[in-house]
C-alpha cells in the first residue's frame, strides 16, 4: 500500500516553502483574472480553484528556448580566418510543477513519445523532464469545455503525474505515483493519508460523472478521419468560423510543434527553439513561396487529424488530446474540437 500523505489546507504554503529550498517550484498564481504558473516566492498565494489559463508545458518545453549561443572569433592578423565557438545552454535546476491538473500532466506523456524515443532523444527536453517532478491536483468538478473522459482519461488520471493530490473537505490527500513522488512524501511533513482515501475516491468519481461526453468509441476514429481527408466540403464547413490564430495550440498541453531560428547580431548569436502552431500560415510556408496548407481549413484539419488520427496511428492508439478543453474555452470564435470530432464520427 502506497504510503500516501495528508495535509491540512492551511499547511500547503509551508509545504511549498519547504520544497522551494531544494527545487525551483512553479505554482499557479492569479494575475488579474488569469491563472498561470510562476516561480514560487514566499508570500505568493496560490490559485488552486481552477486550471491555469496556460498549462505548465512551458516549464519543460519553453515558449522560446535558447538551445545554444554561438560566437564568431576573427583572427586579428587575417580577418578572413573566422572560428566559431558554441555554448550549449543545458544546465537546468531541479524543478517542481505544483498544482497542475491531470490533463496538464498527461500532456507531457504525449511529448515523451516524440522527444524521448530512443532513436531521436531530444537532450534539452529530456534534461528538463528528468529534473522535473509533477505534483498534480485532481479536479473535483469539470470546467467549461473540458471533456477528459471522452478521450479515455479522467479528472484524477495519474498518468504523467509523480504525485496526485485530491482536495478534500479538510485538506489535500497526496498519493505518490512514481519514485519521484515518493521522494516528496518522504521529504516533507505529512499526516498519514490512508483514512482519507475513501473520501478521495468519492470526490473523484463524482467529478468524473459530471464531465460532459461529446463523443465516445474512438477506436474507429483515426481511420474515419483519414477517410474524410479529401472531403473539402466537410472541413471548409467546420473551419468556416476559425480565424486561424494560435490560441488553441499554444494553450494546448499536448501541442509540441516548434520552429528553429538563428538570431545573430554582430559576432554573437543564438539558436532559438520556439513554439510554433500548425494553425499559422507560416508553419508550412516553403522557401519557394509555395504553401501546402494555404487555407485555414487545411490547417484546422491538420490539428484535428494530428491529435485524433496521425498520433494514435503512430503510437498504438493513444489520442493526442487530453480533453482539457482550453482550445474550446479560450477560442475567440468558440470553435469546438470535440464537436468537430463528433461531426466526423457522424459524417
Amino acid at each position: 500500500m502506497a504510503e500516501c500523505g495528508f495535509l491540512a489546507k492551511e499547511k500547503i504554503n509551508t509545504l511549498i516553502e519547504a520544497l522551494a529550498k531544494k527545487f525551483q517550484v512553479f505554482v499557479p498564481v492569479l494575475e488579474g483574472e488569469v491563472v498561470l504558473f510562476r516561480g514560487f516566492e514566499s508570500g505568493k498565494s496560490l490559485c488552486l480553484s481552477r486550471p491555469a489559463n496556460l498549462p505548465p508545458k512551458g516549464i519543460i518545453f519553453p515558449a522560446s528556448d535558447v538551445l545554444f549561443r554561438f560566437n564568431f572569433q576573427k583572427d586579428p592578423e587575417d580577418p578572413k580566418k573566422v572560428s566559431v565557438e558554441l555554448k550549449e545552454n543545458r544546465d537546468f535546476p531541479l524543478t517542481i510543477i505544483f498544482g497542475c491538473r491531470p490533463c496538464d500532466a498527461q500532456g507531457f506523456t504525449i511529448y515523451d513519445r516524440v522527444y524521448l524515443t530512443p532513436e531521436t532523444v531530444d537532450p534539452y527536453y529530456r534534461e528538463r523532464r528528468e529534473k522535473t517532478t509533477i505534483i498534480t491536483l485532481a479536479c473535483n468538478a469539470p470546467f467549461p469545455g473540458c471533456f477528459c473522459t471522452s478521450v479515455g482519461r479522467g479528472p484524477a488520471t495519474t498518468e504523467g503525474s509523480d504525485l496526485l493530490m485530491t482536495e478534500l473537505e479538510k485538506g489535500y490527500l497526496f498519493v505518490p505515483i512514481t519514485e519521484k513522488g515518493k521522494e516528496i512524501i518522504k521529504a516533507a511533513e505529512f499526516e498519514d493519508g490512508s483514512p482519507y482515501q475513501e473520501e478521495a475516491k468519492k470526490v473523484q468519481e463524482n467529478a468524473a460523472a459530471l464531465v460532459r461526453k461529446p463523443f465516445e468509441h474512438l477506436e474507429k476514429l483515426p481511420q474515419k478521419l483519414l477517410s474524410l481527408f479529401e472531403n473539402t466540403q466537410f472541413w471548409e464547413k467546420e473551419a468556416a468560423k476559425c480565424i486561424s490564430c494560435g490560441a488553441c495550440t499554444y494553450l494546448c498541453p499536448t501541442c509540441y510543434c516548434f520552429n528553429i531560428t538563428d538570431e545573430q547580431v554582430g559576432n554573437t548569436g543564438e539558436r532559438i527553439r520556439s513554439w510554433d502552431s500548425c494553425m499559422f500560415f507560416h508553419f508550412t510556408l516553403e522557401a519557394s513561396g509555395h504553401n501546402p496548407r494555404p487555407n485555414k481549413y487545411h490547417r484546422l484539419r491538420n490539428r484535428v487529424n494530428h491529435k485524433f488520427s496521425y498520433y494514435p496511428q503512430k503510437y498504438n492508439g493513444v489520442i493526442a488530446c487530453c480533453g482539457c478543453g482550453r482550445c474550446i474555452r479560450y477560442c475567440p470564435m468558440s470553435v469546438d474540437i470535440s464537436e468537430i470530432v463528433a461531426h466526423a464520427q457522424g459524417a
Binding site: S64, V66, E263, E270
Partner: protein
Amino acid sequence: MSYLAGKELRIIGFLCNWCSYGGADTAGVARFKQPTDLRIIRVPCSGRVNPLFVVKALLNGADGVLVSGCHPRDCHYSEGNFYARRRLEMLKRLLPFLGIDERRFHYTWVSASEGARWQKVVTDFTKIIHELGPLHPKKESTE
C-alpha cells in the same frame, strides 16, 4: 553597447537625404562643434521613416531618437514630410502612454542650408537625453 559608457548615450537620428542630411553636412563643413552621441541613419525622405523604426530603436536600447526632414513644403518628394508629420506626431503622443518620456523622441525640420540650426538641434537634443539619462538602466537579457 559599444558606445562609450558614461560619456555618451545611445542617440539615433533618421535624416532625410535631401535636407537634413545635407544640413548636417553643412554644419560639418562649417566646423560647427556638436556632441558626439548621435548616430545618423540616412533615409531618402522623412516619409520613409516608419514610426515603428523609432519604437524598435527605443525598445532595443536607444536612449533617444531624432527624426529630421525637409521643412513642410520643401520636401524633395513634395509630400513625404506631410505624412511623416502626422505619423510621428501620433507616435510622440503615444510614447508617454507606454511609459517612455516623449522627450526621448524628437522630430523636426532642418534644411540643407541650416547648418547652424542643425548644430542647435543636435546640441539641445543630446543635452535633454543626458538630463533624462539612460532609458534602459540595465539592458535586458535576450531570453
